[in-house]
Amino acid sequence: MTDDTESRLKAMIVERLFMRIQPEELESDKSLVEDYDVDSVSLLELVVGLEEEFGIVVADDDFSVQHFESVARLAAFVRSKRNSA
C-alpha cells in the first residue's frame, strides 16, 4: 500500500540521492541496497533527509539494516518514530 509517507519518502530519496528515475518508479518493496545501489554514504544522506523533512530523530540504535531495507520498511520506521514522539 502506498500512502503519503511513502510518496514523500520516494520524492526525498530520488532528489537527495540524485536518482535518474521518477519517484513513482521507485518500488516500495524492492531493496534499496540491492536493487537501487544505495550505499552507506547514500543512507547517511537519507538519515539527514528523514530528520530534516519528517522531523524525527534517528538515534544510533536505530541504525539497523531492517529499517533501511526498502521504502516500505523506511515508511514503517518513520511512522513508528512519529507515533512514539
Binding site: 541496497v33 552507506s40 543512507l43 533527509g49
Partner: protein
C-alpha cells in the same frame, strides 16, 4: 584544458617539508590562489575535482598552488601528531610560497569542507585578499557527529546493525584515547580542536570579498550556512552565496561533474582580479 607548466614543488611548513602542485600562470604578476584540501576521506574523494579546479583557475589567469598539509598526502610528518592550528599555519606557508615563487602580488584562498574552514581561519594572517569556501564546515561538533554516523552506517551495512555508539566514541575521545575516524587515528588534540571549531564565533574575514558555494541536493544553502552568511554580512557587503545542486562529491567514490561549480567560481574570481573596477 592543460595548464602550461604544472609541476611538483616542496616548501617549508615550519620544520616540515610540504608537498604541493604549482600551476603557474604565464603572465607575470598574475594573482594567486591557494587551494585548501579537506581532511580525512573527503580529501581523497575530492582530489579529482580540486585538480580540475586548479587547472581551470590557472587557465583563467591565476597562479595556483594545491598542497598537502603536514602529516597528509605526500607531505612529511605523521597525521596524528597535528591539529587544525598546524594546518592553518601550513596555509600561511603556502600563501607565502606562492607569493614568492609565483610572483603573485595578491593571494586568495579557496577551500572545500574543512579546508574551507581552515582557509577562513587563516585568511587574515595569510594576507589573503579574498576567500572562497565550497560547502565549508561551520560547526566542527556537527561535522564530528556526522562523521561518526558515517562510521555507524558502515558498520550497519557490514554487520546488520551498528557496533558502537556516538556517545561511547565521544567518551573515549574525552578520556584522551585515539578513536578511529574514517580510518584515521583522531588524536585527543585534534578531537578538541575539531569540536571547538565554530566559524560563527571565530572566523574573521576582515571585510575580505567572500564567496560561499553551497553544494546541496536542492541548491539551497543549509540552515547553518545561511546563518553564517547573515553573520558575515553584518560586517561586510562583499559576501556572495551561490547554490549548486550536486551530490556531496567529497564523500563519493565515483567522479562528479563539477564543471558548473568551477565555472561559477571562476566568474566570481575574475571580479577579484581588478577589485577597484568591480
Amino acid at each position: 584544458m592543460a595548464p602550461t607548466d604544472e609541476h611538483q614543488v616542496l616548501f617549508a611548513g615550519g620544520v616540515y617539508e610540504l608537498h604541493g602542485m604549482l600551476y603557474p600562470h604565464q603572465e607575470k604578476g598574475a594573482p594567486g590562489i591557494v587551494i585548501c584540501h579537506p581532511l580525512f576521506e573527503e580529501r581523497k574523494s575530492a582530489h579529482r575535482a580540486l585538480v580540475e579546479a586548479a587547472r581551470a583557475f590557472c587557465s583563467a589567469g591565476f597562479s595556483v598552488l594545491r598542497f598537502d598539509y603536514r602529516g597528509c598526502g605526500n607531505s612529511h610528518g605523521t597525521f596524528r601528531d597535528f591539529g587544525l592550528d598546524d594546518w592553518a599555519k601550513d596555509i600561511r606557508a603556502a600563501a607565502g610560497f606562492l607569493a614568492t615563487q609565483g610572483g603573485c602580488p595578491r593571494i586568495g584562498l579557496m577551500g572545500l569542507r574543512l579546508g574551507a574552514s581552515l582557509a577562513f581561519s587563516a585568511a587574515s594572517s595569510a594576507g589573503a585578499t579574498f576567500v572562497v569556501g565550497w560547502e565549508p564546515v561551520i560547526d566542527g561538533t556537527s561535522y564530528f557527529q556526522q562523521e561518526l554516523r558515517k562510521k555507524l552506517m558502515k558498520q550497519m551495512m557490514t554487520y546488520g546493525e551498528n557496533q558502537d555508539s556516538r556517545a561511547a566514541l565521544a567518551d573515549a575521545a574525552d578520556r584522551g584515547e585515539d578513536i578511529d575516524f574514517d580510518g584515521y587515528a583522531l588524536s585527543p588534540r585534534l578531537y578538541r580542536e575539531l569540536t571547538a571549531l565554530d566559524l560563527r564565533k571565530t572566523a574573521h574575514h576582515a571585510g575580505l570579498p567572500v564567496l560561499l558555494s553551497a553544494v546541496t541536493h536542492n541548491a539551497k544553502p543549509s540552515a547553518i550556512l545561511a546563518e553564517w552568511t547573515d553573520l558575515l554580512r553584518e560586517s561586510s557587503d562583499n559576501v556572495d552565496v551561490h547554490g549548486f545542486r550536486l551530490p556531496p562529491f567529497w564523500n563519493l567514490v565515483g567522479l562528479t561533474d563539477c564543471s558548473e561549480l568551477i565555472a561559477e567560481t571562476i566568474t566570481w574570481l575574475q571580479k577579484q582580479k581588478n577589485p577597484s573596477t568591480s
